[in-house]
Symmetry: C2
Subunit: 181 residues, 2 copies
DNA sequence: CCCTGTCTATCTACTAGTAGATAGTAATAT
DNA sequence: ATATTACTATCTACTAGTAGATAGACAGGG
């Protein structure tokens, strides 16, 4: 509907995923959308509110893209999961919530609550996939957390190395290690 | 020698590892050491210089703590490696270089060069350990990167969840998966 | 005429960094 | 021994620029 608001969210997500929450300002954002900083406040009263909106939007888009964990073979669902992170990385972006997670202890506490929701959803979804591989609930949850952590770390390393193959190698390794029952 | 300089480095490392490079200012640092911001510039001409000094000091301390990769059994060396990350986390700190790595694209490029050295050293050291487990060079390097990435990601997740058990579970999982030949 | 969305103008607080003064230390020269 | 000089480490005071945020004006569309 509101085109400017969407543009702001899209650009803010890009800035957040590349530079971090403390790495971009309303000035940066306003400039790249072509308005004044004061106009951002019309759409998002505070930077904290903008951050919360970004996290929640990201969570919704992410979970929508994942879909029903039972809708394909577990292996295909795991590869879909990895491909979402790979998609961000191919645009030189971190996982939005991984980035916020790294900075979390210096950020407004309101962001923390929304961040937990993202990771909760991820763990639940992944656990369901691993469950279907005949693992116990406990092992499935452990594998879910292992995959999630590995991918977040691999994104950081891949960006540091400026080489997406780094991520591809690691994600292939962790997938094949955890696929085997 | 210079006590103030050491205090500055110690406190700056703490701030960097908890809040990120863009998450602390000279004002924060000066306050917690009990001097004025201008006095920091006597010891470190710029914030970039401070950042570089922190990364290099961290790298040296880290590699010294790891010691000779052949000086104990591979399994013991891997557990030592994990314990260094665990030590940071038990003080609610990220890996200093993992934190910088997450923010890297918004930081002065001088930091990038020093950061590469840290990860290079880590990969070489870990590869030597995995080598001794009878793996090919290629697989050893792949396992080195997998372990490193997983631990960096697990630190983020553990801090987000505010639960060190999260890290302990994941590090145990990845260690046992990669120890098996 | 009101509502939406933007603007200008402004505010307070903070950012990294600089200039110049000061006090103490330590080596050197007379 | 004392005076000179240089160095170390800090301070106060300042600059130019940026941070997020607010108030009020104004244009255009319903």
């Amino acid at each position: 509907m509101n085109d400017t608001k969407t543009k702001l969210l899209n650009k803010a997500a890009e800035l957040l995923q590349t530079r971090g929450y403390n790495g971009f300002s309303f000035h940066d954002l306003a400039d790249s959308v072509g308005i004044r900083t004061s106009s951002i406040h019309f759409h998002f009263p505070t930077k904290t509110n903008l951050g919360q909106t970004l996290i929640n939007r990201y969570t919704n888009e992410f979970m929508t893209a994942l879909g029903d964990p039972d809708a394909a073979t577990p292996n295909d669902k795991l590869r879909l999961y990895v491909s979402l992170f790979h998609g961000s990385l191919s645009n030189n972006r971190m996982c939005l919530c991984g980035m916020v997670g790294a900075e979390i202890s210096g950020l407004p506490k309101e962001l923390n609550e929304d961040l937990q929701t993202f990771f909760d959803s991820n763990e639940v979804w992944l656990s369901k996939v691993y469950d279907r591989m005949g693992l116990t609930q406990i092992v499935a949850t452990r594998r879910a957390r292992l995959l999630l952590s590995t991918l977040e770390g691999a994104m950081i390393m891949s960006r540091v190395r400026n080489d997406i193959k780094y991520f591809e190698d690691i994600s292939e390794s962790i997938i094949s290690l955890t696929m085997v029952v």
